[in-house]
């Protein structure tokens, strides 16, 4: 167990540890023809926006393979560390693996260097993983297009980023959505931000949560790959907030009431 860890080291880079111990994820598949065009994987809706206390991140629960519904309890909002959340759209295998690598990367850095990685460092870490994954994305078997929400306790500020599949990062100051259902709700988000009762960034947690549920329900009305909530089976969207207290998910027990009130017109 100890043989692979004997070299002196101190960079706090978990990816380096994975490479050293021979566990770094495979980046290029051989024998698979490259696709001519870069297909952005679809089949989900995840969204995030700034609200009064931080950022709210929400996602539906459906996983699809072509026209088939494979799973209706998929969690697409994943905690990375105490102060960061990732929402995934794309190939689940790659996305979940990236989340795991990232989570270990941040924790390993914090524990080994005795300080948390900077927000910029965290943002670049995901970018680097996406860049390393370009070959898989081009081959059409591993594309991921994530959202990344971070709260920086030093700056006392929340940051939201959207990434393309090649690893480019874009800071979002208001709202963002990705996945096959996102075109249906991007306009609604913009409309709410410009002409709703108040800008999204000034909304309370309750208002932000309620809007997220309604947006996902709307996306599911028009996009078959976005799953609707199924209260009878206790399947609700995954909603998490990230604030100065770190991340917090809304639990299913609370979701039942919030969902019910969100679906009424009043």
């Amino acid at each position: 167990m100890i043989e692979n860890f004997e070299k002196a080291h101190g960079s706090g880079d978990f990816l380096e540890l994975l490479k050293r111990s021979g566990h770094y994820p495979q980046q290029v598949l051989s024998g698979i023809p490259e696709k001519k065009a870069l297909d952005i994987p679809q089949g989900t809706t995840v969204l995030a926006f700034h609200y009064k206390d931080g950022i709210i991140v929400a996602g539906d629960r459906r996983a699809t393979a072509g026209n088939a519904i494979m799973y209706d309890r998929c969690d697409k909002v994943i905690p990375i560390d105490d102060y960061s959340l990732m929402a995934i759209a794309g190939v689940p295998a790659t996305a979940f693996e990236m989340a795991r690598v990232l989570s270990h990367n941040f924790e390993y850095y914090r524990r080994s260097q005795l300080r948390a990685m900077s927000t910029e460092g965290k943002v670049r870490a995901l970018s680097k993983l996406l860049k390393d994954n370009v070959a898989m994305a081009l081959q059409g078997v591993g594309g991921v297009s994530p959202l990344f929400a971070i709260y920086d306790p030093q700056q006392d500020r929340a940051f939201l980023y959207f990434y393309d599949m090649l690893g480019a990062e874009f800071q979002i100051l208001t709202h963002v959505a990705t996945g096959s259902g996102s075109p249906m709700i991007k306009g609604v988000l913009e409309h709410e931000n410009l002409w709703g009762t108040c800008p999204l960034k000034d909304r309370s947690e309750g208002e932000a949560t309620s809007l997220s549920i309604r947006l996902l329900q709307t996306a599911a009305q028009f996009d078959s790959a976005t799953g609707q909530a199924r209260p009878d089976d206790k399947i609700y969207p995954t909603i998490a907030k990230i604030t100065k207290n770190g991340y917090q998910f809304i639990l299913d027990d609370e979701m039942a009431d919030i969902y019910k009130s969100s679906m009424s017109r009043s």
């Binding site: 860890f5 080291h9 905690p79 914090r110 524990r111």
Partner: protein, 262 residues
Amino acid sequence: MFEEPFRWMEAISTRHSYVREKLSKGQPVIGIPYNEGAVILGFSPQPGKIFEIYDRIALGGLGHPADVERLRMTLLDMAHAEGFNRSAKDVTIGRLLQFGLAPALKQNFEEIQRAPYLIQMLLAEINHEDDAEFFCVNYDGYWKKFKQGTVISGDNKVSGRIQKNIDNTDFVSFTLNKSIQSALRIWEEGRKKPALEKESLKSTDDNDELDDEMEGYPTDLKEAFELWNLEVAILNKNTGRKCLYSTLSESEISTLQSEVIR
């Protein structure tokens, strides 16, 4: 020189004496449970005694800082690689010690041409049944598990006295604050030599030498707070997060100081 068994044993014995002498000034690190988890604490002239290893594992060390750092990094690497390749649930102190660190430490200690690790370690874990467990690891790879709490110290007499008090205290039923305060009082008691012991050791040259070296070291909590740094790490099973580790902040330590020293 070492092909004869006696000479090898003699070399090992000398090595034990050498390491013990080097560790003799190591200040106690105490690990105790409380009603929501586990605490590791210790005073030291320089910060850097207690560390987080994994989601539910903390480490306290004494000895040469470079050796503490090297073994800390080894534990971190093993824990993270195992947690990534399998699951966080597969990362336990028992596995890390039994299949990783202990054999390596023993091998290092018995290879008498290599410099030995000057280290003692105390590891605390909240296991997956949510119980606190404590482990002491010696420089030669020998390790032992404790349920009630334990201590490491360069001075065996001090650790003996502290361990006795830990065994006689029902830490599991205490709140965090009460547990820390009790542990600090036990630390203070442990450093005070009983009168009888003082008398019987008065004429021993070795002890005089050690006493000289210990001169200027704090003997009670008031002095310890003034001269040294107190580090307190907590593993709280009720945080609701996967990482149970946290440390007391400077302001929390100040509050604790005013509560403990009246």
